[in-house]
């Protein structure tokens, strides 16, 4: 883990009909870090990263992502620093452009295409890799064929890495929940992201599957060199796998620190257990 930040959330605020879901929230995620965001129900965890991924437009505040030069659109090239990177403000960018910058997410209720094979589902995650134009694809010209072949091999290697390569040709519909969760992660890896956001990855998994998940998350970080940001309810998973944790409550920042620091933090305990007399 380096000390460079891959993501900086800066004074983020958003309200829904008078209810302040996020209130001046700031924290940062470091490169290649496994980071956890926790908080009681309704704390605004999901809202935070919906603001980050631009599904919601924050009322105030900024979200800065550190982006490699190679991922930048030509119009952003002037922002590049000496290290060949740029800090881009994500706020206001179209949702579908975020993944190109190296930030990709999963969904709480696994959003896979049931009618496609696992392999094709992973290839959906490689959508942005394809350079062939629509016409090239419709007429199946050499570049379209070549890309399809290259990325099929890549998708298969990702599935193998997550241990579900033997299911590559099977339809996603009807697969067990654990496989679908892995499939979603495989899809994010296709984009070779710098930061992956996992939305409650342990939800609906049993104990052994959760243990497996913890290992998978570490393996992803080690293999792909990306930061992983978990938004999670399952305290055991968070405390087990995360290197730093941020706790929030009612949209406000509570504490940031290592798992043990968070566990012993008074404010966090109060938020979860209620105030003690």
């Amino acid at each position: 883990m380096s000390d460079q930040e891959v993501l900086r959330i800066d004074h983020l605020s958003i309200s829904f009909g008078g209810l302040k879901a996020l209130d001046d929230l700031s924290f940062g995620i470091k490169d290649q870090e496994i980071f956890g965001l926790i908080g009681p129900n309704g704390a605004g965890k999901t809202t935070v990263f919906n603001c980050v991924t631009q599904f919601y437009r924050p009322d105030a505040g900024d979200v800065f992502l550190t982006v490699d030069q190679s991922r930048l659109h030509s119009r952003d090239r002037h922002l590049v620093d000496d290290l060949g990177q740029a800090r881009l403000n994500l706020v206001g960018r179209p949702v579908h452009s975020i993944i190109r910058l190296g930030l990709v997410r999963t969904f709480q209720n696994v959003e896979v295409v049931k009618e496609l094979s696992l392999l094709d589902n992973v290839l959906v995650g490689g959508h942005i890799d394809f350079k062939a134009t629509m016409a090239e694809q419709i007429f199946r010209l050499p570049r379209a064929r070549r890309e399809e072949k290259t990325y099929r091999a890549k998708a298969l290697s990702v599935l193998d890495f997550l241990g579900i390569g033997h299911l590559a040709g099977q339809l996603a519909g009807g697969q067990p929940y654990g496989v679908l969760k892995k499939l979603e992660m495989a899809r994010t890896l296709m984009a070779e992201p710098r930061l992956i956001i996992l939305d409650e990855p342990a939800a609906g998994l049993n104990d052994s599957e959760t243990e497996d998940l913890a290992q998978t998350i570490r393996a992803i970080r080690d293999q792909y060199g990306c930061a992983v940001w978990l938004v999670e309810h399952d305290m055991r998973l968070v405390m087990n796998v995360c290197e730093r944790i941020c706790a929030i409550s009612f949209g406000k920042f509570l504490a940031l620190g290592t798992p043990s620091e968070i566990q012993s933090n008074k404010l966090v305990q109060e938020a979860y257990l209620g105030e003690q007399e």
Binding site: H96, E111, K114, L116, V124, G125, H127, I138, G169, Q170
Partner: protein
């Protein structure tokens, strides 16, 4: 892939069967067989009216394939198909017979103008969804229909526009040659549709249908792909319209009504969403079965509005009891053979071939890719 398949199959039969696994070869063989029909009709083996009915089946199959891209793959609905087919027909007639610009210019006009209007509908689809989109597209079709009735210089109104067989490459066409042109167009459309749905484009459409939010998170520009789906659907509709006119040599506004749009939807649903051959089969069932079979039955054949009742009943039955349509039926019929093949191959485990579980719209590509990387 060639090594692994070659070792698995050695019988002489496989030399014929193996190339048939390729979808494009299937389409071409299908087209070649269809091209025999005019000769059969000429030899007296089939009535000319039957040949005409089959020509309309193929024309509607082209249109239905376009709607399948919308409804089946992209999850978008349109009740306006007939309007665009009619527009294609009138444009072809106007450019060929009034402006005398020849077959190719007329065809091009019938493709370009509906596609452009389709793009506009695509923009509408960003704002309105599901049932509201259906209503919006129906309105556009009704506007087109009224235009066909009123715009005398363009359509000859309710009196109907008359045309003639086109001259293609200096050759005066007739019923038989037009039939072959229609077959060529259908085979091309089948191949292009196959390419469209089996690559990044198709996966983007799938993702968009499954969840727009997730598709966007994966980098799919929903605007771009909705516009694409609508323009493809209207392009196919325009092509179908032009072929209709060139074959029938007349067009009346009353043809391009809501019933035709609903029938095209019925073809897609009955044939099976997301199936290319299924759509063609659906077009046959919906259009040809009432014409060729039901109308000749005693008592039932005399019922007025028989095709309406037939396609209506069929839609209800398919949706309620067999949502995968004819495609699903074909898969069921194929299953025993696949099991047999799996049992025969020594290396493979007993029981169903793994390809059983693969989406039938793309088994070859998935399996060959898997074999390529890790030879068994």
């Amino acid at each position: 892939m060639s090594t692994s398949t070659a070792t698995r199959t050695a019988s002489p039969l496989s030399l014929i069967v193996q190339p048939l696994r390729n979808a494009h070869v299937q389409f071409i063989v299908f087209g070649a067989l269809l091209c025999l029909l005019p000769a059969i009709a000429k030899a007296g083996g089939m009535r000319n009216s039957t040949l005409s009915t089959l020509a309309f089946v193929l024309i509607y199959a082209i249109v239905a394939l376009g709607l399948n891209l919308l409804l089946g793959y992209s999850g978008l609905i349109s009740l306006g198909t007939a309007g665009f087919v009619g527009l294609g027909a009138y444009l072809a007639a106007y450019f060929q017979d009034d402006l005398k610009l020849g077959f190719w210019v007329a065809l091009l006009a019938a493709l370009v103008v509906p596609t452009f209007i389709g793009l506009l509908v695509g923009f509408v689809s960003l704002r309105v969804r599901s049932i509201y989109l259906a209503i919006a597209s129906l309105c556009i079709a009704e506007i087109l229909l009224k235009t066909f009735e009123q715009l005398d210089w363009f359509t000859h109104g309710t009196a109907g526009k008359q045309s003639k067989y086109p001259v293609v490459f200096g050759l005066q066409t007739d019923r038989a040659t037009m039939f072959i042109i229609i077959v060529i167009a259908l085979v091309l459309v089948m191949m292009l549709t196959y390419n469209t749905v089996h690559g990044q484009l198709g996966r983007a459409l799938h993702a968009m249908r499954s969840s727009e939010v997730a598709a966007q998170a994966m980098g799919v520009n929903v605007l771009k792909y909705k516009l694409f789906a609508f323009s493809m659907a209207t392009l196919y509709a325009g092509l179908g319209g032009a072929l209709y006119l060139f074959f029938l040599r007349s067009s009346y506004p009353s043809t391009w009504n809501l019933f035709l749009s609903l029938n095209i939807i019925a073809m897609v649903v009955v044939g099976g969403l997301r199936s290319i051959f299924g759509t063609v089969a659906g077009a046959f069932v919906i259009f040809a079965v009432p014409e060729l079979v039901l109308k000749k039955l005693p008592v039932i054949g005399d019922v007025a509005g028989l095709p309406y009742i037939f396609s209506g009943l069929l839609i209800v039955l398919v949706i309620m009891f067999f949502p995968t349509g004819l495609k699903g039926l074909a898969d069921l019929a194929r299953r025993p053979f696949q099991r047999l093949r799996a049992n025969r191959s020594e290396s493979g485990p007993p029981g169903p071939d793994p390809s059983d579980r693969v989406d039938p719209t793309g088994p070859e590509t998935v399996l060959t890719a898997a074999e390529e990387v890790r030879p068994a």
